[in-house]
C-alpha cells in the first residue's frame, strides 16, 4: 500500500515537473511573421527566376511611372525609390516590373494560409505582417525555436522569404520581426534590451515626432526607452507614451483575431498576350504550384479547378461577329471547370489534366489574364484493403480518362447507363467511377457467393446469354418478302437467303414527340450467297457473315434496316 502511495506521489511529481517545464517553454507566446519588401516579393513569388536579379517596381498614372519598391540588388545598383521609369531604363541590369495588386493580394492570402497552418489564433496586422498566438503549440511543434524554424520553412515553400520573431508580447514580436532578419527569439524580460538596437523609425512614428526625436538626438529604441516617461508625455503626448512603451517592449495588448477565408485563387496579368499552349502551360504550372502550396499549408486539396482566361480582342473574332447575320458579342472570357473525382493537390497532375482539357477545347483568342481558383475539400484518406481487387489509382485513372477523351472525344468514353425507355438501343454515358468502398465490394461478393454456393467462382453450365452487336449507325437493307415474311435480303452489297425468321414484333413509342418511332422487328437467320461479289471491302468472305441478324421495318421512314447481329 505504502509502495503504491509512493509511486503515485512520484508520478504526480513528474507530472507537475513536466507541466512546469511546459509552462516555461510556452512563456513566449506570440510569433510575428514579416515579409520584408513585400511588393517585390509578391512579384518574385509569381516569377521565381527573378530571385537572383535586380528588380525595380514602378507604379503611377501613365506616363508618369515612379519606382515604388526595389530589392537589395537594385538598390546596390543605384536605384532609388521615387526614381522615374525613364531613369531606371538606363540601368541595363535592372528588371522593371509594374506593381501588381493582384499578386500582392495572392501573396497576402498565402501569408494568412501560412499562419493558419500553424495556429488558428492569428492577427492580420498588415499586408506584409501577421501575428500568431503560439501558446500551447509546444506539444505539437516543440520549442519556440522549432516553431519559428517551421514557419520560415513553410514560408519558403509558399515562395516568401520571411522574418520571424517570437516574444512574450505581440508588439515586441512585431517590432523584432520588422527590425531583425531571420529568426529572433526574445526571452521574457529582455524585450527592452533586444529591441534597444532598433532605429526609432522601425516603430513607425509620425513624421513630426520622428523629426523631433532626431532633433533630440534620439536615434534608437534604447535611447527612447531611457527618456523619462512623464516629461516625454508632456512634450509628445499619448503618441510619445505609446512609442516609449514600444521601445521598451512593454506594450501589452490582445491580438485581434482574423479568420482567413477558405478561398484559393491565384491570378496573373500578362504583359504580353499568350496564344500558344506551351508558354501558357508554363504559366499555369507556376500558378498551380502556388495554389497547391497554399492548399497544402491548410491541409486541404482541390475537388475542382476553375480556370478563367481574359482574352484579347482579335481581328478574326471581330470579323466573325461582323459576318454573322445576327451579330452578338463574342465572350471575352474563356472559362473551364476541371472536375476531379477525388480531391487532389498534385500540381503536376493537375497541370496535365488542364493541358488535356485545353488541347481538346482551346481558347479562341490570345490570353491576357489568367485566373485559377481551387474548390477546397478534405484530401482523400483511404487505405487499400488486403482483399480488394486491383483498381486503378484514382489520380492516374483521371489522367488516363482525360487522355482517352482527348483521343476519342468526351462523349465516347465512360460507363454505359441504361435509360428508362423502350426505344431500342437507348443508353447514356456516365462518368466511370469504379467501386472503391471495401465494405460494399465485400457485401457484393457475398451476394455473388450466395447466388453460386457450390461454385468457387461464377462459372455456370446453365448457358451464357446470347450477346448482341449493334450496327452504329443502322444499315439500310433491301428485303424481299414472301407471304409477308422476309425471304431474301440485300445487305452491304451482298445477297442473302433468309432460312429462318421470327416476327414481326411491333414496337413503337414516344408518339407525343417529333421523333416518334414505330418498327416491326424480325430475327432472321441469313445465309449469304458465296458466289456474289462483295463490293464492300470490310467483308472478307460473304459466308463468314452468315448468322442471326435482327432487322426491322421502319413504318415512319418506310424502309428496312439491320439493327445488329447475335454473336
Amino acid at each position: 500500500m505504502l509502495r503504491e502511495l509512493n509511486q503515485l506521489r512520484n508520478e504526480r511529481k513528474k507530472y507537475l515537473e513536466s507541466f512546469a517545464s511546459t509552462e516555461k517553454t510556452v512563456s513566449m507566446a506570440f510569433a510575428s511573421i514579416h515579409v520584408p519588401n513585400f511588393l517585390v516579393q509578391a512579384i518574385m513569388r509569381a516569377e521565381p527566376n527573378l530571385c537572383d536579379r535586380a528588380v525595380a517596381l514602378v507604379d503611377g498614372a501613365p506616363p508618369i511611372w515612379n519606382v515604388v519598391a526595389a530589392n537589395e540588388a537594385a538598390l546596390r545598383s543605384g536605384i532609388e525609390l521615387g526614381m522615374a521609369k525613364s531613369q531606371v531604363v538606363q540601368f541595363r541590369n535592372v528588371e522593371i516590373r509594374q506593381r501588381s495588386r493582384l499578386q500582392e493580394k495572392s501573396a497576402h492570402a498565402a501569408l494568412l494560409d501560412l499562419g493558419a497552418s500553424v495556429s488558428p489564433r492569428m492577427e492580420d496586422t498588415a499586408l506584409d505582417t501577421i501575428i500568431l498566438d503560439i501558446a500551447g503549440l509546444s506539444s505539437m511543434f516543440g520549442s519556440e525555436e522549432n516553431i519559428a524554424t517551421q514557419l520560415m520553412r513553410r514560408a519558403s515553400g509558399l515562395g516568401l522569404a520571411a522574418h520571424v520573431a517570437v516574444s512574450s508580447n505581440p508588439e515586441a514580436a512585431l517590432q523584432a520581426a520588422r527590425g531583425f532578419s531571420g529568426i529572433t527569439l526574445i526571452p521574457p524580460g529582455e524585450e527592452s534590451k533586444r529591441l534597444g538596437g532598433l532605429p526609432v523609425r522601425a516603430l513607425l512614428p509620425s513624421t513630426e515626432i520622428l523629426e523631433t526625436l532626431e532633433r533630440w538626438g534620439v536615434r534608437n529604441c534604447a535611447a527612447l526607452a531611457a527618456l523619462p516617461l512623464l516629461q516625454l508625455s508632456e512634450r509628445l503626448g499619448q503618441e510619445g507614451v505609446r512609442l516609449h512603451e514600444l521601445a521598451r517592449g512593454a506594450s501589452l495588448r490582445s491580438i485581434v483575431l482574423a479568420e482567413p477565408a477558405v478561398h484559393f485563387e491565384e491570378e496573373m496579368v500578362l504583359d504580353f498576350a499568350v496564344a500558344e499552349l506551351e508558354p501558357l502551360a508554363f504559366l499555369l504550372g507556376r500558378l498551380l504550384d502556388q495554389l497547391c502550396a497554399r492548399l497544402e499549408a491548410r491541409a486541404l486539396a482541390a475537388c475542382a479547378i476553375r480556370l478563367r482566361f481574359d482574352l484579347e480582342d482579335s481581328f478574326e473574332k471581330d470579323f466573325q461577329v461582323l459576318d454573322d447575320k445576327s451579330p452578338r458579342l463574342a465572350a471575352k472570357t474563356y472559362e473551364k471547370v476541371l472536375g476531379l473525382p477525388i480531391p487532389m493537390r498534385n500540381s503536376k497532375m493537375l497541370l496535365k489534366l488542364l493541358r488535356l482539357q485545353l488541347q481538346a477545347d482551346p481558347p479562341h483568342a490570345s490570353i491576357v489574364k489568367i485566373t485559377l481558383a481551387a474548390e477546397p475539400a478534405h484530401p482523400r484518406a483511404a487505405q487499400g484493403g488486403l482483399f480488394l481487387p486491383s483498381c486503378p489509382d484514382p489520380e492516374k485513372l483521371e489522367l488516363t480518362i482525360s487522355r482517352l477523351a482527348n483521343l476519342v472525344g468526351n462523349s465516347n468514353i465512360g460507363s454505359p447507363e441504361l435509360v428508362d425507355t423502350h426505344r431500342p438501343g437507348e443508353f447514356r454515358m456516365s462518368r466511370f467511377v469504379p467501386a472503391s468502398d471495401e465494405s460494399k465490394i465485400l457485401q457484393k461478393r457475398e451476394v455473388v457467393a450466395t447466388a453460386h454456393p457450390c461454385e468457387e467462382d461464377t462459372s455456370t453450365s446453365r448457358g451464357a446469354a446470347t450477346a448482341f452487336r449493334i450496327f452504329r449507325p443502322e444499315v439500310q437493307v433491301k428485303v424481299e418478302l414472301q407471304d409477308g415474311c422476309p425471304a431474301r435480303i440485300y445487305f452491304r452489297g451482298m445477297r442473302g437467303k433468309i432460312v429462318a425468321a421470327s416476327g414481326p414484333w411491333r414496337i413503337s413509342g414516344d408518339w407525343w414527340r417529333e421523333d416518334t418511332w414505330q418498327q416491326d422487328e424480325w430475327e432472321v437467320d441469313i445465309r449469304f450467297d458465296s458466289s456474289a461479289s462483295s463490293r464492300n471491302e470490310r467483308t472478307s468472305s460473304p459466308s463468314a457473315l452468315d448468322g442471326l441478324y435482327r432487322i426491322y421495318y421502319d413504318s415512319i421512314r418506310a424502309a428496312w434496316f439491320a439493327r445488329g447481329r447475335y454473336d
Binding site: L407, S415, V448, A465, A501, A544, G547
Partner: protein
Amino acid sequence: MAVNLATLRSKVELALTGRVAAPFTYRDRHAVETVSTGIAEIDSLAGGLPRGALTEIFGPACSGRTSLLLSALAARTAQAEACALIDGCDAFDPHSAKAAGVELKQLLWVRCRNIDQTLRATDLLLQGGGFGFIALDLGDMSAKLLRHVPLDAWFRFRRAVEDTPTILVVLEPESNAKTCASLVLRMEAEPARWSTTLDTRASYFFRYPSSWLFDGFGIRAELLHSRMHSSAPNGFKKHFDSAGRSETFETNAMPGYLSAARIEPAPK
C-alpha cells in the same frame, strides 16, 4: 573456383541492384493465375483466362465471341474488378451486356472510330494500369485491315500486361497476335435453336413466323494454343499444351431484354 563464382554472382547482383529484383532466381513464366470465364465448359477447356497475358478469341461473325466476352466481363465485374472495353467498331450493346450480368458501373467503355484510335486507346489504358480486365474488340473490323496491324503492337501489349494482374482479351475475325497470345480460342457457331408453340411438322418459318422464338445457339470453342500452367479456379492443375481440343456450350436468348421492349405480335 567456388569463391570466384560467389564473388562474380555478388558483383552481378550489385550491378543490377534497383533494376532486377533477383537476377539469379528462377521465375516460371508459365505459371500464371487464371480466372473463370463464367462458362464452365470454357474453363474446363482452357483453364480460364490468364492474368498478365494476352488472350485471343477469334471467329467469324455470329460465332459467339461476344457472348464469351460478356460472360467473362460479367464474372469480373461481379468480383468488383475495374474492367475496360475498347470498342473498335462501336458495336457494344449495353442492354445485351446488362442482360448477360455485366455490372455496367464497373465497365469503362471506349468507343473508337478506327483501328488507329483503338490501338492508341489500348496503349493508354495499359500504361495507366490498374484494370483487372481489358477487352479489345476488333470483331467487326476487316480481316485484311487487321493483318496490317504491325506485330510490334501485339508485342507491346503483351509486354505491357506482363507481370500485372490485368487480363487482356482481343476479339478478332482472324488470329493475328501469333506468339504474343498466351491463349488462343477459335469460336464457331452451331445452328440456332428455335422454339414454336405449334406443331413443328405442320409449321414452318414462313407460314407462321410469329409463332417462332429464337432460343439461342450452341457455340463450339476450340483451343488452338495455350502456354500456361494453370492454377485453375477450382484448384486443379493442368498443363495445356495440346491444340485441337474443343468444347461446346449453349447460349440463351435474353428474355429480360427482349420482353422489355416487345409488345404482342402484330396481327397479320
